[in-house]
Amino acid sequence: MKELWNIFSKGLVAENPIFILALSLCPALAVTTTVINGLTMGLTVTFVITTNNVVVSIVRNWVNPKVRVPVYITSIATIVTVAQLVLQAYFPELYKALGIYLALVVVFAIILARAEVYASKHGVVKSFADGFGMGCGFTLAMLIISVIRELVGAGTILGMPVFGDGYNPMLMMVLPPGAFILIGYLVAATKTWNKHVEEKKAKEARRMELMKGAES
Protein backbone atom coordinates (compact mmCIF):
# COMPACT_ATOMS: atom_id res chain seq x y z
CA MET A 1 0.00 0.00 0.00
CA LYS A 2 2.78 2.38 1.01
CA GLU A 3 4.61 1.59 -2.22
CA LEU A 4 1.53 2.35 -4.30
CA TRP A 5 1.07 5.66 -2.49
CA ASN A 6 4.68 6.55 -3.27
CA ILE A 7 4.16 5.75 -6.96
CA PHE A 8 1.00 7.83 -6.96
CA SER A 9 2.31 10.83 -5.05
CA LYS A 10 5.47 11.40 -7.07
CA GLY A 11 3.35 12.64 -9.98
CA LEU A 12 1.77 15.31 -7.78
CA VAL A 13 4.83 17.38 -6.88
CA ALA A 14 8.24 15.76 -7.32
CA GLU A 15 7.67 14.85 -10.97
CA ASN A 16 4.80 17.17 -11.79
CA PRO A 17 4.26 16.87 -15.57
CA ILE A 18 3.86 20.60 -16.14
CA PHE A 19 6.04 22.43 -13.65
CA ILE A 20 8.93 19.99 -13.33
CA LEU A 21 8.97 17.89 -16.49
CA ALA A 22 7.71 20.82 -18.63
CA LEU A 23 5.80 18.39 -20.87
CA SER A 24 2.43 18.98 -22.57
CA LEU A 25 2.48 22.72 -22.21
CA CYS A 26 0.23 23.51 -25.16
CA PRO A 27 -3.02 22.68 -23.32
CA ALA A 28 -1.81 24.18 -20.07
CA LEU A 29 -1.71 27.53 -21.82
CA ALA A 30 -4.54 27.23 -24.26
CA VAL A 31 -7.52 26.04 -22.23
CA THR A 32 -6.80 27.54 -18.83
CA THR A 33 -8.71 30.77 -19.45
CA THR A 34 -11.44 29.58 -17.08
CA VAL A 35 -11.36 27.13 -14.17
CA ILE A 36 -14.03 24.85 -15.61
CA ASN A 37 -12.16 24.43 -18.90
CA GLY A 38 -8.89 23.75 -17.11
CA LEU A 39 -10.56 21.22 -14.82
CA THR A 40 -12.27 19.38 -17.70
CA MET A 41 -9.01 19.15 -19.58
CA GLY A 42 -7.23 17.89 -16.47
CA LEU A 43 -9.84 15.19 -15.81
CA THR A 44 -9.85 14.10 -19.46
CA VAL A 45 -6.08 13.72 -19.44
CA THR A 46 -6.26 11.82 -16.13
CA PHE A 47 -8.76 9.41 -17.66
CA VAL A 48 -6.71 8.92 -20.82
CA ILE A 49 -3.35 8.49 -19.11
CA THR A 50 -4.70 6.06 -16.47
CA THR A 51 -6.63 3.91 -18.95
CA ASN A 52 -3.75 3.89 -21.39
CA ASN A 53 -1.27 2.87 -18.70
CA VAL A 54 -3.52 -0.05 -17.76
CA VAL A 55 -3.97 -1.14 -21.40
CA VAL A 56 -0.27 -0.90 -22.18
CA SER A 57 0.58 -2.79 -19.00
CA ILE A 58 -1.84 -5.60 -19.91
CA VAL A 59 -0.56 -6.05 -23.45
CA ARG A 60 3.11 -5.40 -22.67
CA ASN A 61 4.16 -9.04 -22.98
CA TRP A 62 2.49 -9.62 -26.36
CA VAL A 63 3.67 -6.54 -28.21
CA ASN A 64 6.82 -6.87 -30.28
CA PRO A 65 9.19 -4.11 -29.08
CA LYS A 66 9.73 -3.02 -32.69
CA VAL A 67 6.13 -1.94 -33.17
CA ARG A 68 5.46 -0.77 -29.62
CA VAL A 69 5.23 2.97 -30.38
CA PRO A 70 2.54 2.63 -33.11
CA VAL A 71 0.60 0.29 -30.79
CA TYR A 72 0.75 2.81 -27.95
CA ILE A 73 -0.29 5.67 -30.24
CA THR A 74 -3.27 3.71 -31.56
CA SER A 75 -4.31 2.82 -28.04
CA ILE A 76 -4.07 6.45 -26.92
CA ALA A 77 -6.01 7.66 -29.97
CA THR A 78 -8.80 5.16 -29.28
CA ILE A 79 -9.15 6.22 -25.65
CA VAL A 80 -9.10 9.90 -26.62
CA THR A 81 -11.86 9.25 -29.16
CA VAL A 82 -13.97 7.62 -26.43
CA ALA A 83 -13.42 10.66 -24.18
CA GLN A 84 -14.30 12.99 -27.08
CA LEU A 85 -17.55 11.17 -27.84
CA VAL A 86 -18.59 11.09 -24.16
CA LEU A 87 -17.92 14.82 -23.73
CA GLN A 88 -19.69 15.60 -27.00
CA ALA A 89 -22.77 13.63 -25.90
CA TYR A 90 -23.11 14.81 -22.30
CA PHE A 91 -21.28 18.16 -22.11
CA PRO A 92 -21.60 19.73 -25.57
CA GLU A 93 -20.70 23.22 -24.32
CA LEU A 94 -17.45 22.09 -22.74
CA TYR A 95 -16.69 20.06 -25.84
CA LYS A 96 -17.03 23.19 -27.93
CA ALA A 97 -14.94 25.29 -25.55
CA LEU A 98 -12.05 22.80 -25.58
CA GLY A 99 -12.33 22.45 -29.35
CA ILE A 100 -9.28 21.20 -31.19
CA TYR A 101 -7.21 20.84 -28.01
CA LEU A 102 -9.27 17.81 -27.00
CA ALA A 103 -8.25 15.88 -30.11
CA LEU A 104 -4.68 17.00 -29.55
CA VAL A 105 -4.55 15.12 -26.24
CA VAL A 106 -3.44 12.23 -28.50
CA VAL A 107 -0.01 13.75 -29.04
CA PHE A 108 0.66 14.82 -25.46
CA ALA A 109 4.22 13.82 -24.75
CA ILE A 110 3.40 12.95 -21.15
CA ILE A 111 0.97 10.14 -22.05
CA LEU A 112 3.31 8.38 -24.47
CA ALA A 113 6.20 8.98 -22.08
CA ARG A 114 4.42 7.25 -19.17
CA ALA A 115 3.49 4.29 -21.40
CA GLU A 116 7.06 3.93 -22.63
CA VAL A 117 8.92 4.65 -19.40
CA TYR A 118 6.61 3.07 -16.84
CA ALA A 119 3.63 0.99 -17.98
CA SER A 120 5.61 -1.12 -20.45
CA LYS A 121 7.80 -2.37 -17.63
CA HIS A 122 5.44 -2.69 -14.64
CA GLY A 123 2.33 -4.60 -13.54
CA VAL A 124 -1.25 -3.43 -13.96
CA VAL A 125 -1.85 -2.11 -10.43
CA LYS A 126 1.42 -0.17 -10.29
CA SER A 127 0.84 1.28 -13.76
CA PHE A 128 -2.64 2.38 -12.70
CA ALA A 129 -1.19 4.18 -9.67
CA ASP A 130 1.48 5.82 -11.79
CA GLY A 131 -0.96 7.01 -14.45
CA PHE A 132 -3.46 8.23 -11.88
CA GLY A 133 -0.75 10.12 -9.99
CA MET A 134 0.57 11.78 -13.14
CA GLY A 135 -2.98 12.67 -14.19
CA CYS A 136 -3.73 14.20 -10.79
CA GLY A 137 -0.49 16.17 -10.92
CA PHE A 138 -1.48 17.46 -14.34
CA THR A 139 -4.98 18.37 -13.09
CA LEU A 140 -3.48 20.15 -10.09
CA ALA A 141 -1.21 22.22 -12.32
CA MET A 142 -4.12 23.07 -14.64
CA LEU A 143 -6.19 24.14 -11.61
CA ILE A 144 -3.45 26.41 -10.25
CA ILE A 145 -2.92 28.09 -13.62
CA SER A 146 -6.60 28.49 -14.44
CA VAL A 147 -7.56 29.80 -10.97
CA ILE A 148 -4.91 32.52 -11.24
CA ARG A 149 -5.90 33.41 -14.79
CA GLU A 150 -9.63 33.54 -14.18
CA LEU A 151 -9.26 35.37 -10.88
CA VAL A 152 -6.96 38.08 -12.18
CA GLY A 153 -8.23 38.23 -15.73
CA ALA A 154 -11.97 38.21 -15.08
CA GLY A 155 -12.30 38.61 -11.31
CA THR A 156 -14.33 35.39 -10.99
CA ILE A 157 -13.89 31.76 -9.98
CA LEU A 158 -16.09 29.20 -11.75
CA GLY A 159 -18.06 32.17 -13.07
CA MET A 160 -18.81 33.62 -9.62
CA PRO A 161 -17.57 37.17 -8.93
CA VAL A 162 -15.03 37.30 -6.13
CA PHE A 163 -13.86 40.88 -5.84
CA GLY A 164 -17.19 42.68 -6.18
CA ASP A 165 -18.07 45.47 -8.57
CA GLY A 166 -15.09 47.73 -7.92
CA TYR A 167 -12.60 45.30 -9.48
CA ASN A 168 -11.30 46.21 -12.88
CA PRO A 169 -10.21 42.91 -14.51
CA MET A 170 -6.75 42.65 -16.03
CA LEU A 171 -7.84 41.40 -19.42
CA MET A 172 -4.33 40.46 -20.52
CA MET A 173 -4.33 37.44 -18.20
CA VAL A 174 -7.06 35.64 -20.14
CA LEU A 175 -5.45 36.56 -23.47
CA PRO A 176 -2.50 34.53 -24.82
CA PRO A 177 0.33 36.86 -23.61
CA GLY A 178 -0.83 36.56 -20.00
CA ALA A 179 -0.56 32.77 -20.19
CA PHE A 180 3.02 32.87 -21.43
CA ILE A 181 4.12 35.39 -18.81
CA LEU A 182 2.36 33.58 -15.96
CA ILE A 183 3.96 30.24 -16.87
CA GLY A 184 7.34 31.95 -17.02
CA TYR A 185 6.96 33.19 -13.45
CA LEU A 186 5.48 29.88 -12.23
CA VAL A 187 8.47 27.99 -13.64
CA ALA A 188 10.79 30.45 -11.91
CA ALA A 189 8.86 30.03 -8.64
CA THR A 190 9.04 26.22 -8.83
CA LYS A 191 12.77 26.43 -9.51
CA THR A 192 13.34 28.71 -6.51
CA TRP A 193 11.23 26.47 -4.26
CA ASN A 194 13.11 23.32 -5.32
CA LYS A 195 16.43 25.04 -4.68
CA HIS A 196 15.25 26.17 -1.29
CA VAL A 197 14.21 22.61 -0.37
CA GLU A 198 17.52 21.20 -1.58
CA GLU A 199 19.52 23.74 0.39
CA LYS A 200 17.53 22.94 3.50
CA LYS A 201 18.21 19.23 3.02
CA ALA A 202 21.91 19.85 2.49
CA LYS A 203 22.06 21.99 5.64
CA GLU A 204 20.29 19.30 7.64
CA ALA A 205 22.70 16.66 6.36
CA ARG A 206 25.68 18.81 7.28
CA ARG A 207 24.32 19.38 10.77
CA MET A 208 23.77 15.64 11.28
CA GLU A 209 27.33 14.96 10.20
CA LEU A 210 28.68 17.57 12.59
CA MET A 211 26.66 16.09 15.44
CA LYS A 212 27.99 12.62 14.63
CA GLY A 213 31.52 14.00 14.59
CA ALA A 214 31.00 15.66 17.96
CA GLU A 215 29.67 12.44 19.47
CA SER A 216 32.62 10.35 18.46
Binding site: A30, I73, A77, A103, L104, V107, L112, G184, A188
Partner: protein
Protein backbone atom coordinates in the same frame (compact mmCIF):
# COMPACT_ATOMS: atom_id res chain seq x y z
CA UNK B 1 -8.84 35.76 -54.48
CA UNK B 2 -9.41 38.15 -51.58
CA UNK B 3 -10.82 35.26 -49.61
CA UNK B 4 -7.60 33.27 -49.96
CA UNK B 5 -5.47 36.28 -49.09
CA UNK B 6 -7.50 36.85 -45.91
CA UNK B 7 -7.13 33.20 -44.97
CA UNK B 8 -3.38 33.32 -45.60
CA UNK B 9 -2.67 36.52 -43.67
CA UNK B 10 -4.97 35.34 -40.91
CA UNK B 11 -2.98 32.12 -40.56
CA UNK B 12 0.43 33.83 -40.67
CA UNK B 13 -0.03 36.71 -38.24
CA UNK B 14 -3.52 37.16 -36.81
CA UNK B 15 -4.06 33.59 -35.62
CA UNK B 16 -0.39 32.76 -35.34
CA UNK B 17 -0.17 29.10 -34.33
CA UNK B 18 2.51 29.48 -31.71
CA UNK B 19 1.80 32.88 -30.22
CA UNK B 20 -1.98 32.89 -30.10
CA UNK B 21 -2.96 29.21 -30.27
CA UNK B 22 -0.09 27.69 -28.28
CA UNK B 23 0.54 24.90 -30.77
CA UNK B 24 4.00 23.41 -31.27
CA UNK B 25 5.39 24.91 -28.08
CA UNK B 26 7.74 22.00 -27.39
CA UNK B 27 9.69 22.53 -30.60
CA UNK B 28 9.28 26.29 -30.34
CA UNK B 29 11.11 26.45 -27.01
CA UNK B 30 13.44 23.55 -27.74
CA UNK B 31 14.81 24.70 -31.09
CA UNK B 32 14.72 28.50 -30.80
CA UNK B 33 18.04 28.56 -28.95
CA UNK B 34 19.75 28.45 -32.33
CA UNK B 35 18.93 30.66 -35.30
CA UNK B 36 20.01 28.40 -38.18
CA UNK B 37 18.25 25.39 -36.66
CA UNK B 38 15.12 27.53 -36.34
CA UNK B 39 15.16 28.38 -40.04
CA UNK B 40 15.51 24.67 -40.88
CA UNK B 41 12.73 23.71 -38.51
CA UNK B 42 10.41 26.38 -39.88
CA UNK B 43 10.90 25.14 -43.44
CA UNK B 44 10.53 21.47 -42.44
CA UNK B 45 7.29 22.14 -40.56
CA UNK B 46 5.83 24.15 -43.44
CA UNK B 47 6.51 21.47 -46.04
CA UNK B 48 5.43 18.52 -43.90
CA UNK B 49 2.28 20.30 -42.81
CA UNK B 50 1.30 21.14 -46.37
CA UNK B 51 1.82 17.61 -47.64
CA UNK B 52 0.13 15.94 -44.70
CA UNK B 53 -2.90 18.19 -44.90
CA UNK B 54 -3.36 17.36 -48.60
CA UNK B 55 -3.15 13.66 -47.74
CA UNK B 56 -5.51 14.01 -44.78
CA UNK B 57 -8.00 16.02 -46.83
CA UNK B 58 -8.13 13.29 -49.50
CA UNK B 59 -8.55 10.53 -46.91
CA UNK B 60 -11.26 12.43 -45.04
CA UNK B 61 -13.42 13.47 -47.98
CA UNK B 62 -12.96 10.36 -50.14
CA UNK B 63 -12.78 7.59 -47.53
CA UNK B 64 -14.01 8.57 -44.08
CA UNK B 65 -16.98 10.71 -45.04
CA UNK B 66 -18.54 8.44 -47.72
CA UNK B 67 -18.23 5.46 -45.37
CA UNK B 68 -19.69 7.38 -42.41
CA UNK B 69 -16.57 6.81 -40.33
CA UNK B 70 -15.94 10.42 -39.30
CA UNK B 71 -15.81 9.46 -35.62
CA UNK B 72 -12.49 7.76 -36.42
CA UNK B 73 -10.93 11.05 -37.63
CA UNK B 74 -8.59 11.49 -34.68
CA UNK B 75 -7.19 7.94 -34.84
CA UNK B 76 -6.81 7.93 -38.62
CA UNK B 77 -5.12 11.35 -38.74
CA UNK B 78 -2.63 10.49 -36.00
CA UNK B 79 -1.59 7.27 -37.69
CA UNK B 80 -1.58 8.98 -41.09
CA UNK B 81 0.61 11.94 -40.15
CA UNK B 82 3.00 9.89 -38.04
CA UNK B 83 3.51 7.24 -40.73
CA UNK B 84 3.71 9.88 -43.47
CA UNK B 85 6.55 11.67 -41.70
CA UNK B 86 8.40 8.37 -41.18
CA UNK B 87 7.96 7.50 -44.84
CA UNK B 88 9.17 10.93 -45.91
CA UNK B 89 12.22 10.48 -43.73
CA UNK B 90 13.04 7.13 -45.38
CA UNK B 91 12.59 8.53 -48.88
CA UNK B 92 14.73 11.60 -48.24
CA UNK B 93 17.42 9.50 -46.58
CA UNK B 94 17.63 7.27 -49.66
CA UNK B 95 17.14 9.81 -52.44
CA UNK B 96 18.70 13.01 -51.11
CA UNK B 97 21.25 12.32 -48.37
CA UNK B 98 22.47 15.94 -48.39
CA UNK B 99 18.99 17.19 -47.65
CA UNK B 100 18.61 14.50 -45.00
CA UNK B 101 21.74 15.64 -43.20
CA UNK B 102 20.31 19.13 -43.09
CA UNK B 103 16.69 18.42 -42.17
CA UNK B 104 16.47 14.76 -41.10
CA UNK B 105 16.70 15.47 -37.41
CA UNK B 106 13.79 17.89 -37.53
CA UNK B 107 11.58 15.40 -39.33
CA UNK B 108 11.92 12.96 -36.43
CA UNK B 109 10.97 15.67 -33.97
CA UNK B 110 7.77 16.62 -35.75
CA UNK B 111 6.54 13.08 -36.37
CA UNK B 112 3.93 13.26 -33.61
CA UNK B 113 3.70 16.94 -32.92
CA UNK B 114 0.50 18.77 -32.21
CA UNK B 115 1.14 21.42 -34.87
CA UNK B 116 1.29 18.86 -37.69
CA UNK B 117 -1.87 17.16 -36.47
CA UNK B 118 -3.76 20.40 -35.78
CA UNK B 119 -3.77 21.74 -39.33
CA UNK B 120 -5.49 18.73 -40.96
CA UNK B 121 -8.00 18.63 -38.10
CA UNK B 122 -8.81 22.33 -38.45
CA UNK B 123 -9.13 21.99 -42.24
CA UNK B 124 -11.69 19.25 -41.85
CA UNK B 125 -13.51 20.96 -39.00
CA UNK B 126 -14.00 24.11 -41.08
CA UNK B 127 -14.69 22.02 -44.24
CA UNK B 128 -12.20 23.94 -46.35
CA UNK B 129 -11.83 23.05 -50.03
CA UNK B 130 -8.56 21.41 -51.09
CA UNK B 131 -7.08 24.68 -52.33
CA UNK B 132 -8.10 26.48 -49.15
CA UNK B 133 -6.57 23.70 -47.06
CA UNK B 134 -3.27 24.11 -48.89
CA UNK B 135 -3.31 27.90 -48.43
CA UNK B 136 -4.14 27.50 -44.76
CA UNK B 137 -1.39 24.91 -44.24
CA UNK B 138 1.27 27.04 -45.95
CA UNK B 139 0.14 30.13 -44.03
CA UNK B 140 0.22 28.32 -40.69
CA UNK B 141 3.65 26.88 -41.46
CA UNK B 142 5.06 30.27 -42.40
CA UNK B 143 3.50 31.75 -39.27
CA UNK B 144 5.31 29.12 -37.23
CA UNK B 145 8.55 29.85 -39.08
CA UNK B 146 8.15 33.60 -38.49
CA UNK B 147 7.56 33.12 -34.76
CA UNK B 148 10.44 30.69 -34.23
CA UNK B 149 12.91 32.82 -36.25
CA UNK B 150 11.95 35.98 -34.35
CA UNK B 151 12.28 34.12 -31.08
CA UNK B 152 15.67 32.65 -32.01
CA UNK B 153 17.05 36.07 -32.96
CA UNK B 154 15.88 37.49 -29.64
CA UNK B 155 17.26 34.59 -27.63
CA UNK B 156 20.70 34.93 -29.23
CA UNK B 157 20.79 38.50 -27.89
CA UNK B 158 19.48 37.29 -24.55
CA UNK B 159 22.61 35.21 -24.06
CA UNK B 160 24.48 38.44 -23.22
CA UNK B 161 21.79 39.87 -20.97
CA UNK B 162 21.82 39.87 -17.20
CA UNK B 163 18.79 37.74 -16.31
CA UNK B 164 17.58 37.29 -12.69
CA UNK B 165 18.76 33.88 -11.47
CA UNK B 166 15.39 32.06 -11.06
CA UNK B 167 14.23 33.17 -14.49
CA UNK B 168 17.30 31.87 -16.30
CA UNK B 169 16.68 29.39 -19.14
CA UNK B 170 13.08 28.46 -19.86
CA UNK B 171 11.52 31.07 -17.53
CA UNK B 172 12.77 34.12 -19.40
CA UNK B 173 12.01 32.38 -22.70
CA UNK B 174 8.33 32.17 -21.69
CA UNK B 175 8.21 35.83 -20.74
CA UNK B 176 9.88 36.73 -24.02
CA UNK B 177 7.24 34.68 -25.86
CA UNK B 178 4.62 36.57 -23.87
CA UNK B 179 5.99 39.88 -25.13
CA UNK B 180 6.05 38.58 -28.70
CA UNK B 181 2.49 37.37 -28.28
CA UNK B 182 1.48 40.80 -26.99
CA UNK B 183 2.99 42.35 -30.12
CA UNK B 184 1.10 39.89 -32.32
CA UNK B 185 -2.16 40.80 -30.58
CA UNK B 186 -1.79 44.11 -32.37
CA UNK B 187 -2.60 42.32 -35.62
CA UNK B 188 -5.94 41.07 -34.35
CA UNK B 189 -7.80 44.14 -35.52
CA UNK B 190 -6.51 43.69 -39.06
CA UNK B 191 -9.14 41.31 -40.42
Amino acid sequence: MAEYLTLFIGAVVVNNFVLTKFLGLCIFFGISKNLSASVGMGMAVTSVMTMSSILAWIVYFFVLQPLGLTFLTTIVFVVLTASFVQLLELIIKKQAPALYNMWGIYLLLIATNCIVLAVPLLNVENSYSLLKSIVFAIGSGLGFALAIILMASLREKLAYADVPKPLEGIGIAFILAGMLSLAFLGFSGML
